[in-house]
Symmetry: C2
Subunit: 516 residues, 2 copies
């Protein structure tokens, strides 16, 4: 699952990305794995890799049938490895979870929810969007999963801050307009004379005029970019109310909300599988073979031996040549093992982060019909944080909004409520933006608190820093490899799980090929 917009950057900055990567490459170098082999040009293991070496593919037990576990099994399977996946829960996919009518969602210390969405309606309770550079899209292509555009940025969606609601296009036009005016003014006052040449100042002013849609005196006087209550047609249209003063615009506090797609992770455009994110799980399960996945098998002990591994679980014991542990670190940390004290400490280092979402199904797509909002995200400073509008099924009768997608404190707050109270609270908050219609005609809802999902217990994790614990777990402990988004710089993205699984597979396969 990708992070909430407003906190994402803080997450990445907080973990000191650059130093960690260098340290990790050094560690990989010690294993004879150059970065380019490791994850720049991943080569899936092939049956042919064994033909000249007179050895067979090994037996591998994979702990966890989330995306990392499934990708590991899928890639190893290409070369004929004999993989078994042990999954504590009742289904594969992990956080890649799409809820539909007829599903039942249980949680720790809370009532079960029977999902009652109508035919064809789905709720991506976990990951919901894919950036075009991510390896996730390659797997969609390889597995024949059709994709469509996910709208992550919508000028017609709203920004709700400090009790006021404006369209994103209006908030953006006003901030850019005043920023441009101020810099033009400062330039003309000579404030940049010691910084840039007069010729560059002219080029800058020309840009600022366009950037802010400034008037002839280089002042911001509003702009048709702000939008209309009635858009131009036969007549010239009726603009929305004139902009406030600079002071009012700054006080409105919309600034944070209009930069949501500036980062490389969330930049426009993004994508989603047609029909639900779990198409990826469905296709991976098919490719791996459902008979290889043992659900309800909770791991109780991990033992690495000189010639193999032994994994005890609630249904028995599995012996294999190697193990890939693709569980969340805070779950792994609780399982007895003989991998050493450093591993125990390392596994306990990253802290789980709470995350929650609610899907609200309406009998009528009022956001399209009345608000002309087709897809995208409304940003708020309320505890719901975001509202997502669906990027598919436009103009159909029913539709599903994500009524909150929050993390940390707000996610814990909602998670502590009953499903009914979560829904009521979400509706009360959304009403502040959309009015009374937000509470009308809600056909069904389902909410998830990822930190209360029994075998997952978090939306994702946060490392205090990408330190030696991080790099330690990127190497095998005996015959046990680790995998998951939590071992990458793509935490909280499926792509992280996939990249990590590919890394573990590469290391394991190299070792098998090189072993005597």
């Amino acid at each position: 699952m990708e992070g909430a917009k407003l906190t994402r950057r803080g997450l990445l900055v907080g973990i000191g990305a650059v130093g960690g990567a260098g340290a990790m490459y050094a560690a990989m170098g010690a294993l004879g794995l150059a970065p380019s082999e490791q994850d720049k040009e991943f080569a899936a293991p092939r049956q042919g890799d064994f033909s000249l070496r007179g050895k067979g593919a090994a037996k591998v037990v994979i702990l966890g049938a989330g995306v990392a576990g499934l990708i590991a099994a899928y890639e190893l399977g290409k070369a004929g490895y004999d993989c078994t996946l042990l999954e504590a829960g009742s289904r594969a996919g992990g956080r890649n979870l799409t809820l539909r009518g007829g599903d039942r969602l249980t949680e720790l210390n809370g009532p079960a929810q029977d999902v009652k969405f109508g035919e064809g309606v789905y709720f991506n309770a976990g990951p919901g969007r894919i950036a075009p550079w991510m390896v996730t899209l390659d797997y969609c292509r390889e597995l024949g999963i059709p994709i469509e555009t996910f709208i992550n940025n919508n000028a017609a969606a709203y920004v709700h801050t400090n009790g006021q609601t404006v369209r994103a296009r209006t908030a953006r036009a006003d901030m850019y307009g005043y920023v441009a005016e101020l810099l033009a003014k400062a330039t003309n006052l000579g404030a940049l004379d010691r910084t840039i040449t007069k010729a560059d100042q002219e080029t800058l002013l020309d840009f600022l005029r366009r950037f802010g849609d400034l008037g002839p005196k280089l002042e911001y006087e509003g702009s048709d970019r702000r939008g209309f209550t009635k858009f131009p047609a036969i007549g010239g249209g009726t603009p929305v109310e004139a902009p406030g003063t600079l002071h009012q615009i700054l006080a409105a506090g919309t600034g944070r909300s209009i930069i949501g797609d500036f980062g490389y992770e969330q930049a426009t455009p993004m994508f989603q599988p047609v029909g639900g994110m779990d198409a990826i799980v469905v296709k991976l399960k098919e490719a791996v073979g459902e008979d290889r996945i043992k659900t309800g098998a909770k791991v109780t002990k991990i033992t690495t031996l000189a010639d193999g591994v032994e994994i005890a679980h609630t249904g028995g014991v599995v012996k294999a040549d190697y193990c890939i542990a693709a569980l969340p670190p805070h779950i792994l940390a609780k399982i007895p093992h003989n991998l050493g004290a450093q591993i125990t400490t390392a596994l306990a280092t990253p802290a789980p982060v709470a995350a929650g979402k609610i899907g609200l199904e309406y009998g009528r797509r009022w956001w399209e019909l009345e608000d002309r909002v087709y897809g995208g995200v409304t940003e708020t400073d309320l505890d719901i944080t975001h509202i997502w509008y669906p990027s598919h099924g436009y103009h159909s009768e029913r539709g599903l909004l994500v009524g909150y997608y929050n993390t940390e404190h707000e996610a814990e707050l909602y998670g502590s409520l009953s499903p009914e109270d979560r829904r009521n609270r979400a509706l009360t908050q959304g009403k502040k933006i959309h009015g009374e219609k937000y509470r009308q005609n809600v056909l069904a809802s389902a909410s998830i608190a990822w930190h209360r999902q029994e075998h997952i217990q978090g939306g994702w994790v946060r490392w205090p820093s990408f330190d030696s614990s991080f790099t330690l777990l990127q190497r095998p402990a005996g015959r046990v490899y680790f995998a998951g988004d939590w071992l990458t710089h793509l935490i909280a993205w499926q792509a992280g799980a996939m990249e990590s699984a590919r890394g573990a597979v590469t290391q394991l396969h190299q070792r098998v090929l090189q072993s005597p």
Copy 2:
């Protein structure tokens, strides 16, 4: 067809939108049509409108079966009007033209093109995108035409200016970074002390830090928003080359290219009918009745009479109670009529604007596979102006790029070339951005010069100002009404044609209902 991004705003500003609208509303007021009736809440004529008045629906002849003509016939048809459409060309749709394999495209003073695109490949040679607030989407909904997202803004697409090519995300991060740094610097130098309070300066600086992704000293030191040659995965990624100096960034001239979706017409997200824009024409033709459309019927004389109209065309004469002339003004201006000298002058006032496009079909979607560009637009200062990547059919084998979409001088230049030379020139230009692969594996191409289409002769028109000629033609001349995007503030958009047709229909219907 919507205008080219870089010139669009100039077009609208140049015609003095606000004054014209006021004058037009005054004219409409004289007709007893308040703006709210006229086009805020359009009510389609219904059969029931006649029931209490003891009169029948009239006979209407519509000149031109483009989008305006089709919508007029469709809406009048709802109340039982007997409509006949006279179309000079061989097909309905006007500028709404989608080319597919097997089509043949002729042009004035040029060779015909036999279109050879593969199965399922299409080229929207006219309009290609729809803003969510436009009435075009309402017609898609009403007519049951499925829509999908059109990507108009892509951070991964390129900006090519002054011989250099960078990703749009890089160009944007650098411009925003330096703008933020400069304004932060000026603020801290006290340049704004007389403009805004210290407290507001703090709020501003907080925004600038985020907006520009500034470092701790409020200086722009590059940003991961600029993108990566290798995106983060197991490692932290390899950023693209560090940004140039402010002088270099300004000299690169990317500023105009990164504001393309700021306006209300082109803001993200936009939409397109699934399978080609002409789905709108297909559905309208079905609804209107194909037997009502006489193709190959070029109008030769328009006569308004006391009790009806008489339209001479190349296949005969049509008599009717009313006429809606939905042809381009510069075409209408050449047809003899008895509507008076003022009408002749008014019709000759708007000037046609040249516009051209080429569709390039490739056997391989290298832009997705190699460049990770899924949909969107590359902006250039070359004579091709834009390159569009397809927003549909992702991951399929073949795909079609729009290799140029240009207007005015550039469109005339390409239009004057043979189809083969247009293609060669487009490939040579595109190679500057994408390299040699741009010229390889091109399976087929088709190009259109709208100013050389026999019965259209322009991409759209430009009014010197929204003056009395504009408002004159929004009223009927005798029993002749005019319609087309050229009579609205949505010139060059299908929505303009639709809104104008609705306006003419409303006026005509009111008159019929009120006539003795």
